[in-house]
């Protein structure tokens, strides 16, 4: 069984989990939600095994390297990180109502990675500049951080949905009533952003150390670097606003959505929209 087959299969397991979370939420069936959790853990396990298998395959091809080196592999690892971070949060805080968002995101990412003709999924040998342990640390920490931000922005959207309708009458029939309390959302948003911020900081630092050993420059203001700094500044603003100025709720929700838009732009926008302008865009 090849790794790409396993990973394509995982895509559909994510779809199943997302559907289970979604219907469990809509029709208030906690049994479905519990099933969704189990399916998600299964998918994460399979997904991890798929990535390991890809690693082994690369060694069989004679130029082994961790599966963290090209766009396809980053999508795969990113999707895995989002679901893992979500499941850890779910295990800790025990609310299953949010699962449909990260699982849908994981499904869409995996589907794009596995089936889009624009994404090259072949295992390729590493060019000399990419042969560095710093690169592995860089990719892992960045994507775990991105995953934290992704979950936080999902919580931000829920917060705004919930907050926009505060009518006390007929709470039961409204789907919004099944969103966790705004205090919980606020707290979880903060926790995820703190996690993401720490990991993004490690990611930027390991990237700088890698660049310094590969090209002799720890920072060169290329668009990718600059956008990662922009992202970092947005979250730094958010943390200072919350911890020192006491910002809560809607403002934090909006900032976590803006922050994740910056993440998306750093990851995808720079590659697809800015590449034409910059000869040095990688």
């Amino acid at each position: 069984m090849s790794s790409s087959l396993v990973l394509s299969l995982v895509t559909f397991v994510y779809l199943l989990a997302a559907l289970a979370y979604g219907t469990g939420w809509l029709f208030r069936r906690s049994v479905l939600n519990r099933c969704a959790t189990w399916i998600s853990w299964l998918a994460v396990g399979l997904h991890g095994a798929g990535m390991l298998l890809r690693w082994v395959e690369s060694y069989r091809m004679g130029f082994g390297h961790a599966p963290l080196s090209n766009f396809y592999e980053s999508l795969i690892f990113g999707a895995w990180s989002v679901v893992l971070i979500y499941l850890l949060m779910e295990a800790r805080y025990g609310s299953r109502e949010l699962g449909v968002f990260p699982l849908s995101l994981a499904f869409l990412t995996m589907a794009y990675a596995s089936f889009s003709p624009n994404v090259e999924s072949k295992i390729q040998p590493l060019i000399p500049a990419l042969k560095s342990n710093w690169l592995i640390a860089h990719v892992i920490t960045c994507f775990l951080g991105y995953a934290g931000f992704a979950v936080a922005s999902g919580l931000g959207i829920l917060y705004l949905l919930k907050g926009s309708n505060q009518q006390p009458d007929n709470p039961g029939s409204d789907i919004r009533a099944r969103i966790p309390s705004i205090q919980t959302l606020d707290e979880l948003m903060y926790q995820n952003v703190v996690f993401g911020f720490l990991l993004l900081t490690v990611g930027i630092i390991t990237g700088a150390v890698w660049a310094n050993s590969a090209w002799g420059s720890y920072w060169s203001w290329d668009p990718k670097e600059t956008w990662s700094l922009i992202t970092w500044l947005v979250y730094a603003l958010m943390l200072h606003a919350r911890l020192v100025r006491g910002w809560h709720g809607r403002r934090i929700a909006w900032l976590s959505i803006i922050g994740f838009s910056c993440v998306i732009f750093t990851y995808l926008g720079v590659n697809f929209l800015l590449s034409g302008l910059h000869s040095y865009a990688r």
Partner: protein
């Protein structure tokens, strides 16, 4: 004088405010976007073509084509630095006061007003309760016990450093900015190409604008590049020797991701290429019929011996218009205009293999590699790395640590000891709530512990 101090005060107030920090974070983030949309380090002509005269004039005015080094971006960074220093210095004394606080005399009413508080009755005499509690709390908290009239009081705490961590995060940021400044003042970035078996004792800085002597020579003993089966490069490697006054001091290999440093100057494998060497030419003057065989170096002007004619091999093409390799040669002959031509190596009979009446055939040449090395000196890097480490470690502590404190009052009561305790945590209230509840339960169970184990 009064007026002056108010202005100073106002400026101080502005710099001491976190509002300014939020504003600067936002402004730096927003303006940084501009530099990713406008190509940096483009030429004036490119910008005129791309943006037209009006927009180009604006780009010139605000230095948007090199905006991360523009005066206004540096001003923003400078403001953030001052803001960070003033904010930290203003808040530090408050934090230190907070850390010292809590050791004042306690009264039960104050403790019971705390968010986390409890009251426990232990069926154990006061001195023994104190001993048991001290032993139990001492495992996880640092405690200060004090005997007072009719009983004991204690402050137990942990995670004090988390309150100070934020200042170390800021210090880390300052180290990073300082390291960047040190690098820009005392460092340089340059480039050098060295042919195989050749040596270089100077490098070029800023696109060949400026030559910098190294103080030693670096010789390329061997350059190797090898490829995967797919044709993608696997590894670039330069084996080099360091020479001082002609003596070989050290040998090293420079690979991508594995640079080599000598006397604070670091060499990075950047590019490579090939160029001809050991070029042997046959020259024939078509007017006089005089012939000559000559070895010439690449890109170095030589005098043709016995004449006043000069000659230089200026360029090399691997495949000239599908006629194979060719050399571009220029000659300046006495009493003639300088002229040049591409000389085809594999077709010596080609009628164009001549410059004026000087016919040239390339008898032989070798193709040899040259290596392109990025050269850098940056004494600020270690300051920056120290800043990275300090920032990361203290960020972990600042965001995940919390300063947790317990105040306890032990009083003699009929049949045992009355304990009142209050708790406070600087962060993570939910987690502290759990810890406090568990602890209260443990204290209540202390008597059982005594009965079974003591």
């Amino acid at each position: 004088m009064d007026q002056k101090s108010t202005i100073f005060d106002r400026i101080y107030q502005v710099f001491a405010s976190v509002k300014l920090s939020l504003f600067l974070f936002g402004t730096l983030a927003a303006t940084s976007i501009v530099g990713t949309l406008i190509p940096q380090e483009s030429t004036v002509e490119q910008r005129l073509r791309e943006y037209g005269p009006k927009l180009s004039a604006m780009i010139e005015l605000l230095d948007l084509a090199d905006m991360y080094h523009s005066w206004w971006f540096k001003v923003l960074l400078g403001l953030l630095t001052v803001n960070l220093i003033v904010c930290s210095l203003r808040r530090l004394p408050q934090t230190l006061t907070l850390l010292r606080a809590g050791n004042q005399t306690m009264d039960p009413a104050r403790l019971e007003k705390m968010r986390h508080h409890g009251r426990i009755q232990l069926p154990v005499p006061l001195p023994e309760s104190q001993r048991l509690l001290a032993a139990r709390l001492g495992r996880r908290y640092s405690c200060q016990w004090q005997e007072r009239e009719g009983g004991w009081q204690a402050v137990a705490e942990k995670g004090r450093s988390s309150r100070l961590a934020v200042y170390f995060v800021h210090l880390g940021v300052l180290l990073i900015l300082g390291g960047a400044l040190v690098g820009s003042i005392f460092g340089f970035r340059g480039f050098v190409t060295i042919p195989e078996h050749g040596a270089a004792d100077r490098i070029f800085i800023g696109g060949k604008q400026q030559v910098l002597p190294l103080g030693f020579a670096i010789r390329c003993d061997k350059f190797t590049v090898d490829f995967y089966e797919t044709g993608a490069p696997r590894e670039f490697r330069s084996d080099v020797s360091i020479l001082e006054h002609g003596d070989m001091i050290q040998q090293a290999a420079i690979l991508v991701n594995d640079p080599f440093t000598y006397k604070g100057i670091t060499f990075y494998q950047a590019t490579y290429g090939s160029e001809p060497s050991n070029i042997i030419l046959q020259l024939k003057d078509l007017t006089t019929g005089a012939g000559r065989r000559l070895e010439v170096p690449f890109r170095e002007t030589i005098m043709i011996p016995g004449t006043k004619d000069r000659l230089v091999v200026m360029d090399y093409a691997e495949n000239m218009g599908n006629h194979g390799p060719a050399l571009f040669i220029a000659a300046a002959r006495e009493y003639q205009q300088p002229a040049s031509a591409w000389i085809l190596v594999k077709q010596p009979e080609f009628h164009g293999n001549r410059i004026g009446d000087l016919a040239i055939t390339v008898e032989s040449f070798q193709n040899s590699f040259y290596t392109g090395l990025q050269v850098k000196k940056d004494p600020g890097v270690w300051v920056i790395y120290a800043g990275f480490s300090l920032m990361l470690l203290s960020m972990l502590l600042a965001l995940y640590g919390s300063h947790r404190r317990l105040w306890l009052l032990l009083d003699h009561a009929s049949g045992g000891t009355k304990i009142i305790l209050g708790g406070h945590s600087s962060k993570h209230q939910a987690a502290f709530e759990r810890e406090f509840t568990t602890l209260t339960q443990e204290i209540a169970d202390l008597s059982a512990y005594r009965n079974t184990h003591v």
